[in-house]
Amino acid sequence: MKIIRSIQISFLLLLVCQACITKDKQPSVSIRWENERAKAFIIEGISSESNSSLQVRLIKEGERTSILGEYSIEDNHIIFQPIVPFTKGLNYELLLKDSIIAEIQIPKGDLSTPELIAIYPTNDTLPENLLKLYFQFSESMQEGHSLKHITLIAENQDTLRNTFLDLQPELWNADGNLLTVWLDPGRIKRGLQPNLKLGAPLVHGKQYSLIISSDWKSKAGVPLKVSIKKNFVVGKRDELSPNPNQWGISPPPSKTKDPVIIQLHESLDYALLMETIQIFDDHDNAIKGFIELDQEERNFQFIPEEFWNSGDFKIRIESRLEDLSGNNLNRLFDQDLTKINQSESSEFSEIHFSIK
């Protein structure tokens, strides 16, 4: 008896659905793509009044969940836009009045494989009070679980814990391809409990390996090509602020586009070097150009867009420029108040050079 009733109900549903489907076309669903993301379903062949009877469900491990989104009408088609894009590789179904009218798999597509282009600092000897690392990828990476993919091993045997600061949200640049990871500042700052009890995260004289797992995926869902290993040894603490007055400057000849080379005599912070140094002519006009860093971020090269004119130039350095240990032009990362000699803090430092 039960079986007969269910058959009757199905038959009824089918009749109802037939009424919703427009006469000239069978229902079909296509995917609307925007910036390689599956943003919406375009549903054709169903009368536009029926959108209140539609439902899109995620099919996963035998379970079906109706997903959140909104329906709208465009050119007589029904558009279903979920509140976040559909996930590539997953399966969805479209229901009209509880009957499945389409099953859709979101294709994974032909996607590029992300690469880890660089880990900054690029040095193989790093100071004991190293504050941060930058990871530069070829494309936007998945966010939220980055520390799961980064492992630090000491002396080829001990996997270290509590070394990096687990921050949510993580510190990504606007494009999502440069990640900043801090070594736990509580362990670097002298006098704080984590420092006194656990010690600094890195120890002078020891060897370390930083391993980046190939499980790390791009935002498009493609994992890194290979896992990456960076080996380094740890040198002594850096307890001095960078001092631009001690930098060396190699001026280029005039009427060339040769770089002006600044020898920093120590490795400085990659991201800040790229942003805090500007060159001005003697009329205070900023010179447009490109920056290149080499010799483990010890050399700063500025290549102008236009030919150099002869004359006097100034290099303006924002005081927030830091070395690898968080010491900036104005102050040290942790200032010993018993030894302090308060110097004037300023927003900029300036050094000069001439082109003949």
Binding site: P85, T87, D166, N177, K189, Q193, A271, M274, R320, G326
Partner: protein
């Protein structure tokens, strides 16, 4: 008769005053679709106005939720495997989502939950009882404030990629002002801002230089990770925890633009531990600070102990992993990622259970 007229006149005046007060809260609101690129932190202001901290845009949006029906007591919430539930409703898998923040509307007691997908797409959900719905951000009334003055020529590397990023670690609203703590992806510095609300076009934000002194010997800039506000001894205080663990107090009246402000360290919450979230709760037994930690249980600190702990913490703690300063109680709840006040006597906990499930549940009087 006269009395009646007077009474009516009074009622009319009060009604008028409260209408204009509510209207002035929305000064500068416009109608449209805010360009929210990420939702890192949430907090409610008055009258159902929700503040959204957007790290990717380096901005805070104030949005009209129209969710302002007041109820006194919230129903307790218990949602098992909330991450899996949300992932399915968004049509994706659990590994693709991160719950960034949870805020409770103090009027309606509805729960607002900020989600970020692995591809960076943000989503905002409202939870009423057991029902989840998307919060509409299209064609709404809103205003916004930028947190950084964009450099004249946006900083890019030689391949033209922008390098700068800001991460909003917490936002809060008290005494008509919005407070925002942010971390830079470049320099290690504190970017704590106090922004008057309603927002004005004029940049009237105070950006503070916040320092931390360890045992009166070393002093450093200290980015604030999480904070709350409370009244202690009749004075308003900001209670903040740094990325480097100490719990510090600042009198709100000291937080003035451009000032070098040093917090009074009242406790260090243990080595290898990082405070994640904090709220203030009251019960018949007093007023408490509840603090969620990365590798410790939830701590409960009595504000009375903070009041009586005068002076800064000066002597290092001898015992390994011990904590110092004011006394506190460890509640028998581990792995709590988010805490939020639900109503006067209940609070929400987002907890990773020992079986791996992520549950949202309600704590009440028995913990206070």
């Amino acid at each position: 008769m006269k009395k009646v007229y007077l009474f009516l006149a009074l009622v009319a005046t009060v009604a008028l005053a409260s209408t204009s007060k509510i209207a002035s809260l929305r000064d500068g609101f416009m109608e449209g679709t805010p360009e929210v690129k990420s939702i890192s932190a949430l907090t409610f202001g008055p009258d159902g106005i929700l503040f959204i901290g957007d790290s990717k845009s380096a901005a805070v949006f104030a949005i009209e939720t129209k969710d302002n029906q007041k109820i006194e007591k919230a129903a307790a919430v218990d949602i098992k495997k909330i991450d899996q539930r949300i992932a399915a409703l968004l049509g994706t898998e659990v590994q693709n989502i991160t719950i960034q923040d949870i805020a409770v509307n103090p009027l309606s007691k509805n729960i607002y939950c900020a989600i970020q997908l692995a591809d960076g797409t943000p989503a905002l959900l409202k939870i009423t009882g057991d029902k989840f719905e998307a919060v509409n951000l299209k064609n709404i009334k809103f205003s916004s404030v930028d947190l950084v003055n964009a450099p004249a020529e946006d900083a890019k590397d030689q391949r033209g990629r922008p390098l700068r990023g800001l991460s909003i670690s917490d936002i809060g609203f008290a005494n008509g002002k919005l407070m925002v703590s942010g971390l830079s992806n470049q320099e290690f510095s504190s970017t704590f801002r106090i922004i008057p609300f309603p927002f004005t076009k004029q940049q009237d934000q105070s950006s503070l230089e916040i320092y931390h002194a360890a045992h009166k010997q070393y002093e450093t800039f200290s980015p604030i990770r999480t904070f709350t506000t409370s009244e202690i001894n009749g004075k308003q205080y900001l209670i903040a925890s740094y990325t480097c663990t100490p719990l510090v107090l600042f009198p709100m009246e000291d937080l003035k633009p451009g000032k070098h402000v040093k917090g009074r360290t009242v406790a260090e919450m243990g080595s290898g531990n990082s405070p994640l979230d904090m709220i203030t709760m009251k019960s018949g037994k007093g007023s408490f600070l509840l603090m969620a930690n990365s590798s410790r249980p939830v701590f409960k600190v009595k504000y009375e102990s903070i009041e009586s702990f005068q002076g800064s913490l000066t002597t290092p703690v001898e015992e390994n992993f011990a904590t110092a300063g004011v006394d506190f109680v460890s509640l028998p709840v581990m792995n709590v990622l988010q805490l939020e006040k639900l109503d006067e006597s209940q609070f929400l906990l987002l907890q990773r259970k020992s079986n791996g499930d992520l549950d949202l549940w309600t704590g009440g009087e028995r913990y206070l």
